[in-house]
């Protein structure tokens, strides 16, 4: 088991290096002079030259890339062009907000998704089942930023139940979390339904029914527990998307997270922040996916046994 985790962790290194190399190359293509962006409009030629040296822009591409990696490992992601603060500080100041939003959205999606999917599967072909299946279809087809706008129109502007953009307390978390979590909710609902439909047909479920257990006990204790593995996997992957892909939804709700920071930085052409954010987000995405893989192995006794038998 440890060897399995170690091996997977080792595979992370080339992926992260590759991602950072790709993003660094893309950012290097950015037209415009970074020194000019850093200094603003008024500067002397001397200041320009010394700043070029200070930012290391006089060095060749590969040297700049390696020093970016070297510094990044030490937690130094450079200085923001627009605020002249350390990039890492800027990101760390915003990151907790994104984390809270992603966790709230995931919690909402898992809870509601498992409940809806379970009822759908238990009452297959009922009206509830077809309604929730169709709702899930709409849920995956809906742009989440549009859904966010609709939530604002109905619940913030119309009914006034929730604030639309002020950032204050739990109440301001509700709408963004629902808007962000709905796509995942739909995906988890579908996965729960299909996975449960598979386990419901298994012999051990028939046995459980035959020995006279109550239906809800059969579903929850025997069928759902065995159906959990794909649900956990898909939820983990969704968490990766929620935390790294939630760029647009933060813009809709003016949520001060790293997604919003990314959009702001793009508009200000603040390359160090854009570069660092994309690399950090992609890294988080990969690490979360790895965590999901490991969890998956951990939750399934069959997979665990496989690794034990191999002596790994």
């Amino acid at each position: 088991m440890h060897k399995f985790i170690l091996r997977r962790l080792a595979m992370l290194i080339p992926v992260i290096l590759g991602v950072s190399f790709i993003v660094f190359s893309i950012m290097d293509l950015t037209p415009g002079d970074p020194v000019e962006m850093y200094l603003g409009d008024n500067y002397t030629d001397e200041a320009h030259a010394s700043m070029t040296k200070e930012l290391g822009l006089d060095k060749p591409f590969i040297v700049r890339y390696l020093s970016f990696i070297g510094n990044a490992i030490q937690g130094d992601f450079g200085i923001s062009y627009s605020t002249h603060q350390r990039v890492l500080d800027e990101i760390l100041a915003r990151f907790p907000n994104t984390l809270v939003l992603a966790i709230a959205a995931l919690f909402f999606a898992i809870l509601a998704g498992i409940i809806l999917g379970t009822i759908s599967a238990a009452k297959q072909n009922s009206i509830f089942d077809s309604t929730s299946t169709f709702a899930a279809l709409i849920g995956v087809s809906m742009p989440n930023f549009w859904f966010g706008l609709m939530l604002i129109i109905i619940f913030a502007a119309g009914l006034g139940w929730f604030p639309s953009s002020e950032f204050s307390g739990v109440k301001s978390l509700v709408l963004p979390a629902i808007a962000l979590g709905t796509n995942s909710l739909a995906i988890i609902t579908r996965m729960t339904r299909s996975s449960l439909l598979e386990t419901i047909r298994q012999d051990y479920v028939r046995t459980a029914r035959a020995k006279g257990l109550k239906e809800y006990k059969v579903i929850i204790k025997h069928a759902l527990r065995n159906a959990m593995i794909p649900i956990i996997t898909i939820s983990g992957l969704q968490f990766g998307f929620l935390i790294s892909g939630a760029v647009v939804i933060e813009t809709v709700f003016s949520w001060p997270g790293i997604g919003r920071l990314l959009v702001e930085a793009i508009q200000l052409k603040d390359t160090p922040i854009v570069l660092s954010l994309v690399v950090i987000k992609a890294t988080m995405f990969t690490v979360i996916n790895l965590g999901t893989d490991i969890m998956y192995a951990f939750f399934d006794p069959r997979i665990r046994a496989q690794y034990k038998a191999k002596g790994a």
Partner: protein, 302 residues
Amino acid sequence: MNTTIIPSKNQGSEILPEKKKKSQLVSIWKRLKKNKLAVAGLIILSFIGLTAAFANVLFDYNTVVIQQNAAERLQPPSAKHWLGTDELGRDILARIVHGARISIPIAFTTILIATVVGGLIGAISGYGSKRVDNFIMRIMDIFLAIPGILLSIAIVAALGPSLRNLLIAISIANIPPFARIVRASVLSIRNEEFIEAARAIGANGVRIIFKHIIPNSMAPVIVQATLCIAGSILEIAALSFIGLGIQPPAPEWGAMLSGGRQYIRYAWWICAFPGIAIMLTILSLNLLGDGLRDALDPKLKN
């Protein structure tokens, strides 16, 4: 004797594949027809396609879609403006209809590029030596490690927002899944007997890839392409919404949402309808994609 047999054989082999192809298409279509949701998707999609094709007949681009009309700004839906007007007095229905002419062709083009490039990469990877395969797939893994939308944002942010860069960004972000799918199906058929037979009669690698492997791995690619077009439309809208895609005054759906955002407190219709257009298009593509998957490969169902 030879002279009598060979032509008849040739005739047979010329007719047979065509017949087989036709009957395959017919049976796929028959299976697809049974799937009500897929047919619904196809109908909605055809409707969207038709309105987009005749958009210029329905609404003139310069006078209705682009020209601002201060006297009619922020009008709610009415008999004159079915879906209301936006903050610059332009008819929203007209803009949505013309918007389909932007999103749908761009989405098709990006996925076409991604399918061709990804398919080639996948075919080379699956058919090539183990070292080539390993090398290519590790690079694809790296691309897959970046969420598609994030990769697109990074590319457009670097190159600057324009139609061309949007095309590049979304195409690149969509290449890895196609490479993977084609590679997987190549691996599953590369040792089939008909490939061996082709090799035995002296066909080279390129011919085998193009003539035998690619046609035989089309089914999963078509399904994936349908679903990816939906994803591409979503990405175009999302990028335009944050100002990195199609620029105003072009009536792109995501850009319309972005423009109407400030007015949602007084004019819900500006934001509501373009989003419904995005949703309907994606929904119908998803329905069609799911239906195609079942129709092309009945084994996969359930």
